[in-house]
């Protein structure tokens, strides 16, 4: 039985576990039908031309974890940003771990999707927002069909959430192969501010496939800063589907740091419903071996006077492959749009490759849109400069690669996170150059 069939038949078993009378269950039932009709995307589809899922779909994934697994904090502490106080929503093999988490209902809800889906007091917010940003593509639909757990964050008006929220999904590898469907929903009401750090971490070399959906709703003048750390083990793959709906004057940013994993696909979608909205999409990708990272972004400018800023940097070594497919749509009404997109890449191996494709669809006539992509190698003169100062070739390369991607870090607002990313970069580049990059 292939994975698609297995998933469809598993849906019946899933229905035994969840409340089929709940509001969301009709949405789930529709979604499994959509998935059944569309199946997994193939390379024949334009958006998947350079990313094949075949290699990661062949495993016999278990769709529901059979047992509850526990982890000790001291063993996994290193995956947390642990030197600052944070809220934490932690999952182990898809199941919430209250032991590792720190949630709250005090003036705001930073808790679980399962609670939001089952408790009457959240019924309204679920009805208003659940699956209202996600599109009906096959992978999001698959997630919707099995959506039952994840992070639920609802920040009321005028609230500055001072502590960042960490959402971490651990997989233990206690089962030979596991597929996870985390579903996150984040609603940030008027004038509120929240920072989120998301990470998926496999603790073994067993295959893991995560197909996650995150819906973010930023209301008037809300600010959401979202950071994704993708530094997973070599047999862990991630399909991240993130949908962000912004209202007027809201500012949302997503920084994606992709340093690990077997295959990573980021479907990042911004929808601007209001004026004077600012959307920021940034990423650093540094990969090697046979790793594959695909950034598939969409910014939909619907109303006037909005901005979007995209800046993705990639460094590709060994036989790694990268894809950047950045689509910007500017509707006829969206006059005075400023949309910027840059994708710069360095190939440090003859076998590495990157496919980069900007797509601009502009229907308004008074807009500023720019895009640029470059693919290059490390500069010989710069290498010579560093080496002539006694810095060995490997370290010199690392410094240049760091310098190349560094500006993406300027907009990271959590210093401890920035430090951590610098460490991960140094680690990824295999250097110890005596200072925190």
């Amino acid at each position: 039985m292939d994975l698609k069939e297995k998933l469809i038949s598993s849906f019946l078993a899933f229905e035994d576990q969840v409340d089929v009378d709940a509001y969301v269950h009709d949405i789930r039932s529709e979604a499994i039908k959509t998935f059944e009709n569309k199946g997994f995307p193939s390379k024949k589809e334009e958006a998947w031309k350079y990313t094949s899922l075949n290699a990661i779909l062949k495993h016999d994934y278990s769709v529901f974890p059979k047992q509850e697994n526990a982890l000790e904090y001291r063993d996994i502490k290193k995956y947390f940003i642990h030197d600052i106080d944070t809220f934490k929503i932690i999952f182990i093999d898809g199941t919430y771990s209250s032991h590792l988490s720190q949630t709250t209902h005090d003036g705001m809800d930073i808790c679980l999707m399962s609670a939001a889906l089952s408790k009457p007091k959240y019924r309204l917010v679920i009805e208003n927002y659940f699956n209202k940003a996600a599109t009906g593509d096959s992978l999001s639909s698959l997630n919707t069909a099995f959506s039952s757990e994840g992070a639920f964050i609802h920040i009321p008006k005028n609230k500055l959430v001072e502590k960042p929220i960490q959402i971490i999904h651990f997989s233990t590898g206690n089962e030979s192969a596991v597929m996870l469907h985390p579903r996150n929903m984040i609603v940030v009401e008027e004038n509120s501010y929240v920072q989120i750090i998301e990470r998926h971490q496999s603790l073994s070399n067993n295959p893991v496939l995560t197909n996650s959906v995150t819906e973010v709703f930023a209301k008037k003048r809300a600010i959401v800063d979202y950071y994704k750390i993708q530094n997973d083990n070599k047999n862990a793959s991630l399909i991240d589907n993130t949908f962000i709906k912004q209202k007027q004057e809201s500012h949302c940013s997503v920084h994606t740091f992709s340093f690990g994993g077997k295959l990573t696909r980021n479907n990042l979608n911004f929808y601007q419903h209001g004026e004077r909205i600012d959307s920021t999409l940034k990423g650093i990708t540094i990969i090697g071996d046979k790793q594959h990272v695909d950034h598939n972004t969409l910014v939909h400018h619907i109303e006037p006077n909005c901005e979007s800023h995209q800046d993705y940097k990639g460094v590709f070594g060994d036989s790694s492959t990268g894809v950047f497919n950045g689509k910007v749509v500017v509707e006829k009404e969206a006059q005075k749009t400023n949309a910027f997109q840059a994708n710069n890449n360095i190939l440090i191996s003859d076998k590495a490759s990157i496919n980069t494709k900007p797509q601009l669809e502009i229907f308004a006539d008074d807009v500023k849109c720019s895009h640029g992509c470059t693919i290059g190698q490390l500069d010989d003169d710069a290498m010579f400069y560093l080496r002539s100062r006694g810095i060995p070739e490997k370290e010199a390369k690392a410094l240049l690669m760091y310098a190349f991607s560094n500006n993406v870090l300027d907009s990271v607002k959590i210093p401890e996170l920035k430090k951590r990313i610098n460490k991960l970069i140094a680690n990824k580049l295999g250097v110890n150059i005596g200072f925190d990059l």
Binding site: F384, Y385, S388, G390, I391
Partner: protein, 250 residues
């Protein structure tokens, strides 16, 4: 200190150095002058070990060691320093972190421990003062947004930190106003000793008023065509290079 014998070098099959002979003893300052495109900067890069240049003939000895097979970083570890005409910008890496890395990598190669942080700080402060560099400058990204003068001062600051045996200053005077020129020259003079040597590559005699050479060489068309003392530099300043070209062609 440095001995160059019949050095021929080319880049992308274009022959640039066509038989350079030069000997520099410890404690000496040599100026290398010459018109544009004569091979001055190539000579500097070849001595420092730039890989793009192919050495087809000849030898370069540092003290008694033939350094032809050594990489740029190995040459640096042995005490060769090149002050670049166009220093490279490294965003995100501060001047301080950069020089710390350079020093500790060099120490590592020489079998020494990292320099203790306190000692490093003291050294940085001392050398920054010598080059009249203020502390804010040290935390800026290396060469990023630096003025021409700041870049050159920073090069000599690095030289002061690394204390090379052989320093090659490649057009360090270009783009400097008179104050910066004085500061840079003063820095170089303070670092001069009987145990090290300096090669000053320049178009103009101006820098040589401040860093006074023991010998002046003129490169033309990939060869040293004339050598003399500092008076030669004055003569070149006055008469230009054409008389040398005429002399050679005659």
């Amino acid at each position: 200190m440095l001995k160059i014998e019949n050095l021929h070098a080319s880049v992308e099959d274009k022959s640039i150095l066509k038989g350079i002979n030069l000997e520099i003893k410890a404690g000496e300052v040599h100026a290398i002058m010459g018109p544009n495109g004569s091979g001055k900067s190539t000579l500097a890069s070849v001595i420092a070990g730039k890989e793009e240049y192919e050495v087809s003939q000849g030898n370069v000895f540092l003290e008694t060691e033939n350094i032809e097979e050594l990489s740029a970083e190995e040459r640096a570890h042995k005490g060769i320093f090149l002050s670049f005409q166009y220093p490279v910008e490294i965003p995100g890496v501060s001047v301080t972190n950069f020089i710390k890395t350079a020093i500790n990598e060099t120490r590592k190669a020489r079998g020494l421990e990292d320099m203790p942080a306190g000692q490093m700080l003291k050294l940085i402060r001392e050398k920054a003062e010598l080059l009249e560099i203020d502390r804010k400058f040290l935390s800026r990204s290396l060469n990023q947004g630096f003025s021409g003068g700041e870049k050159k001062r920073n090069e000599i600051f690095q030289m002061a930190m690394l204390e090379p045996k052989l320093a090659i200053l490649d057009e360090t005077d270009s783009g400097l106003d008179i104050d910066a020129l004085r500061i840079v020259a003063n820095g170089v003079n303070k670092l001069k000793s009987k145990d090290n040597a300096v090669i000053v590559i320049t178009h103009y005699q101006r820098l040589l008023d401040y860093i006074v050479p023991d010998f002046v060489h003129v490169i033309y068309n990939g060869k040293i065509v004339k050598s003399g003392t500092k008076e030669l530099a004055h003569e070149l300043e006055e008469k230009g290079y054409d008389w040398i070209k005429d002399e050679i062609n005659a």
